[in-house]
Symmetry: C2
Subunit: 365 residues, 2 copies
DNA sequence: CTGAAAGCGCTTACAG
DNA sequence: CTGAAAGCGCTTACAG
């Protein structure tokens, strides 16, 4: 059983404690230590006494009390859907950018992990209870009719799936990225270019398909529906979808190149191609999208389209802080518009020149 | 300029508002809505009136006020060192486990990003100001003499680098993992086994070296210092270190297998080997450690030693919550010991049988 | 069993 | 310029 004295020492020092030790009021201590009411002047001697007392008592302001008085937590939430045991590298890169920027602005970052956007709204709203000042929604599925968040909760989205009015969204120019990659493939001589797409109900896949088709058109290559293959989003899907396509099309002319919805699917394609003895890029070229770390760890390394995910996370923080400031009545330059980051083709060895000799789709082994 | 009325609507409803609307005291509302003092009984009619009023006003308890009254934030911090632009997959997998468990226990997770363990102590201590109830330190470098955290801040470490007394650490059996992997390589016929190690001032590399050497000894393979190569921890290091070794040892007998400190370095080795035309696993086998997602996305997939990072993150949360409960005077079963998780060899195609024909280290191209 | 009051640790508007 | 007081929104010990 702890003695009363011991118990006392378990309590962190408060402003009152510091004031007592320095022979001043808690308010004076607040003025000096937490920078409240900077205009007022406390004599240097007193100030020093207060600072010393605080140091000795190891004083640090209580965040909860401050938040309650200030109506400000200095914490931003990041809402994200996490799959089963789901490591998501896309999330990680954006998240790093968010943490980096938040730290720079002296904001905390806290994660609001969801399993499903529309099913977990209650949970999400539960976060908007004063513990965060605003929210970054990562790749949310927003619905026009119903709000995801309580009114008056400032938020910014990244890669939203719905073009709702009056929301600030950070995204990248996916259509152009896809366009440039396909143009890059064409420049290497490829003409029979397959596109394996992702979930077509989402905006991202749609835009990448558009870029793909626009590039074909501008290269005067007719669009061949047989070369637009539907998958989901992960490596297994890329592998399985290509496997099936190969099985079904044995003997047909082999595509010169495959452009995938993302890096994971492209990696799955590498596997499926290796299985039937096709060499990348000697027999066929492969390209992805996202420029995740994984794209640099394949052999050969994967050509891809880079989105500046780190920078996008940082930008979202800045936009959100402006929105929060605006809501608090502070002057702030607030954007109401979507911010679009450029994408960039990263050439790597998985894309080579078009083979001199045309090949046929091999029979599955 | 907003009218007073409009301004009012910006304020979230409080218990007092709910009480007013339902014709009861704020306290009664607290009892019903936030479950305080469950023993007391409020008539069903009143209860229903309160619940309805709360729903209508969209009431949700203010987290800061609650934290202040309860001395409890229901938030755990995760302190981690983040490199420059640093995507760290190891962190991500542990972090997922932490979020998952924290969510299950209705705790928030907030990230305390540092750049350097010993240099950023002020920053780290700044987090211990009531905004978190306790801290998980991820791979910290603790020093015996000086405490990293303020006294009375409960914490748990994962993969700490220092065997300090009286701290709870979650780790995996790295020595045995390395031992088993080398035994696995020996079982495939390999005898000339290179080990590329990480920063040897850290505990992890030391333990993996020990496991490597113990396995050699138990297989009656003499330890060859030339085959213990020093690197740092990332893919570039693995690639560069092996490149140099190859250049320096052209014409010498090629190792049968390379066992790397971690997956990233092994991936770098795949790259260096591909550069000089060596095939994996036909010419040489390669193994990593960690079983990150990246190990499954290489071609060929990387044999590795799995640490249950997701589970380890979850365990850390449970241990930390017990410590917090204990500090609050609640009864709790609190461990003071290190928790060691088992490791497991994951065989994949990057490890094959020892080549029938011995090869020499090729000249660099 | 119930309500009024005090308190969590801070900040800010308000008298002296 | 300074201090005492009120308030942020909740909870809990304390009288009725």
């Amino acid at each position: 059983m702890p003695t009363p004295k011991k118990k006392k020492s378990l309590r962190a020092a408060t402003l009152a404690d510091v004031g007592l030790a320095a022979g001043v009021s808690a308010m004076a201590a607040s003025t000096v230590l937490n920078g409240a009411r900077t205009s007022s002047r406390i004599s240097d001697a007193t100030r020093e006494r207060i600072v010393k007392a605080a140091a000795k008592l190891n004083y640090r302001p209580n965040a909860a009390a401050r938040a309650l008085a200030n109506r400000r937590m200095n914490t931003i939430g990041v809402a994200v859907v996490i799959g089963e045991g789901g490591v998501n590298h896309y999330f990680m890169e954006v998240f790093n950018g968010i943490i980096d920027a938040a730290t720079r602005y002296e904001q905390n970052t806290t994660v609001c992990a969801l399993h499903h956007w529309t099913r977990d709204t209650v949970r999400l709203r539960g976060f908007c209870d004063g513990r965060i000042d605003g929210l970054i929604l990562l790749a949310p599925i927003l619905q026009p009719d119903k709000a995801l968040l309580p009114a008056h909760t400032p938020f910014v989205s990244i890669h939203t799936n719905s073009q709702l009015p009056n929301i600030v969204n950070v995204e990248s120019d996916e259509e152009r990225g896809a366009w440039e990659m396909v143009r890059h493939l064409v420049a290497q001589g490829h003409r029979r270019i397959m596109h394996i797409t992702g979930p077509v109900e989402l905006l991202g896949p749609q835009r990448r398909i558009q870029g793909y088709q626009r590039a074909l058109a501008s290269s005067r290559i007719p669009f061949d529906p047989l070369l637009l293959v539907h998958g989901s989003y992960n490596a297994e899907s890329g592998r399985d979808v290509l496997r099936q396509w190969i099985k079904k099309n044995a003997g047909a002319p082999l595509p010169h190149a495959i452009f995938c919805f993302n890096d994971h699917m492209a990696i799955g394609c590498l596997e499926a191609l290796a299985e039937v003895g096709l060499r990348v890029p000697e027999d066929i070229s492969v390209a992805g999208f996202d420029d995740l770390l994984a794209s640099r760890t394949t052999v050969p390394q994967l050509a891809t389209v880079q989105q500046p995910l780190f920078a996008m996370g940082g930008k979202a923080v800045e936009l959100l802080l402006a929105r929060i400031a605006q809501q608090n009545g502070e002057e702030a330059i607030v954007s109401d518009k979507t911010v679009i980051f450029p994408t960039k083709v990263i050439p790597r060895f998985s894309v080579g020149l078009r083979p001199v000799i045309e090949r046929l789709v091999p029979a599955a082994r």
